[in-house]
Symmetry: C2
Subunit: 314 residues, 2 copies
């Protein structure tokens, strides 16, 4: 990196890339210009810090880049919006091999394309450790955004995407279980695959009364919906545990329900639907909205850690 | 910070704040929603790393926050756009005093208001050192953005705002000169004051053929304009050295012209105007656009460092 220098690095990061249609002006000037066909746009930002949110010995650079984009794109989609573009601020040590940055950037572009956008600009600075800060943009699919506050008593709670896979993969990496045997969950930890189309492909996003992505753990994220909406949620544990996780849990002496309830980072989606609707493809009913407050599982209030929290977890 | 926790901290950061009119939905959901009345918006991002871009023993937290916002707002204005909002990703150690974060956030809000926007959202994570990553948004003032590539032979080169003050202040802080005696340049280093109104108050931005903010140093930033526009620029040294910097330079045995040419961080603006126009208020002619390439000062090509470069400087 030191040999290449900032400007050559930025040129290298952008060489041969094709911007998404919403990027009216990409890198190279004081700022990028993005289209906002709806007259408004959705914005979210996330910072990932080396050895806190990722480890270079556990993940390939391309996986780290893809994950950074995926978690931001999932937040955009969780507003009922289509990802359009991303900007990336990257802090890295001066002795970072340029191949590491190449991998990181390739992973970002690949996931940005999967989400329907591109990398419209960024900043590269020197830092004692790797820090990746992403801001993601999206175009609302409908006039009214899909907020966390729309859940109503009687709604069905449903999820799209995997629950607990990333947590299981992290447990394998941290706990010394066989990484080859459990390669699928390890891969799920390294690169989440948010099921963007489960939301973007809906006939009308308005079918959903409340929506969030599962980033901090299902209990925590549904907790935000319950609190914002002034309702309670009861979950059915039978619908939460993925049988595919049971061998992993046995090998580690872990409870797969814990992973499903408190493991974040799969970046699936949790939503509430008006009762009586056929759930759209990709969605599975896992519970019910009721009167009251808080989250119960099979009618019992769940105690203990509800998910990831930046300053008290980990 | 550890005692307060992420969610309480975020609540504290947003308590009592009033969002700018363009922020349709502020913090509290998966993403913010911003207005784009022009159907397009300007985006820029910058990362600041502790001990690289700021020092806690040289600057108060509010100054660091204000500077982080100012340098991003200046990039928005340098596109001919009005700042509307900012999002902030903040990495900080778990033992960070909450007063430090309060100061940082207060400084950000104050400068955001000065630029015409507000803090629409963000992320707070644990990190071994303080990292501030800002993304700034703006609404274009006119149909065509003001790019770096519009300078034409014969145009007048002009600047708005201070040149070399921040570099002089940094030299005082680093070189042990009297901080009280030279308090004004030290303050300029701690908190740049981009002259936003010099651009935003123009009768028609179209008077400007090319525009940038001076962030890497005048030689470097005008170098970008010259390169993008396929022209040369000759600067008049008599117009560059601020007499107010001469006592500071004498005390440090430094050349004030160096500060003006290669010192960034004042975040003034450099622009090219069609010849024969009266320059608008706040703008001072400092040179001329000619045929050729590169930057000369009094007709002589300037050698040596042209400004800040992330991986080779500092």
């Amino acid at each position: 990196m030191r040999e290449l220098g900032e400007f050559a690095l930025i040129a290298r990061m952008n060489a041969g890339r094709t911007q998404a249609p919403g990027v009216l002006l990409g890198p190279g000037d004081d700022a990028a210009i993005l289209a906002a066909p709806a007259g408004r746009y959705v914005v979210t930002t996330d910072m990932l810090v080396q050895d806190r949110h990722f480890r270079l010995d556990w993940s390939a650079p391309a996986d780290i880049g893809a994950k950074a984009i995926a978690q931001n794109a999932a937040d955009v989609v969780a507003m009922g919006a289509r990802p359009s573009a991303f900007v990336v601020a990257l802090g890295c040590p001066a002795d970072t091999p340029v191949e590491l940055v190449d991998g990181l950037v390739d992973g970002m572009w690949a996931e940005a394309a999967r989400a329907g956008g591109s990398i419209a600009g960024g900043d590269v600075v020197r830092s004692p450790l790797l820090v990746v800060s992403i801001t993601a943009f999206g175009d609302p699919l409908s006039r009214a955004p899909v907020l966390r506050s729309g859940a109503r008593v009687g709604d069905v709670v449903a999820v799209a995407g995997r629950l607990g896979w990333s947590a299981a993969g992290l447990a394998v990496l941290a706990g010394g279980a066989d990484r080859e045997l459990f390669a699928e969950v390890v891969a799920a930890h390294r690169v989440p695959r948010p099921p963007y189309q489960a939301v973007l492909g809906l006939p009308a996003v308005a079918e959903i009364s409340a929506l969030t992505d599962v980033s901090d753990g299902l209990l925590a994220d549904l907790g935000h919906i319950a609190e914002s909406s002034g309702v309670a949620v009861d979950l059915d544990s039978r619908m939460l545990v993925d049988p595919a996780l049971e061998p992993v849990a046995r090998a580690l002496g872990a409870d797969p329900l814990d992973w499903a309830l408190t493991g974040g980072e799969d970046h699936g989606f949790a939503a509430t639907f008006r009762a009586g609707l056929d759930l759209p493809p990709g969605w599975v009913a896992v519970g019910q909205v009721g009167e009251g407050a808080g989250i119960t599982v099979d009618g019992v209030r769940r105690t203990g850690s509800a998910g990831w929290e930046s300053f008290t977890s980990g």
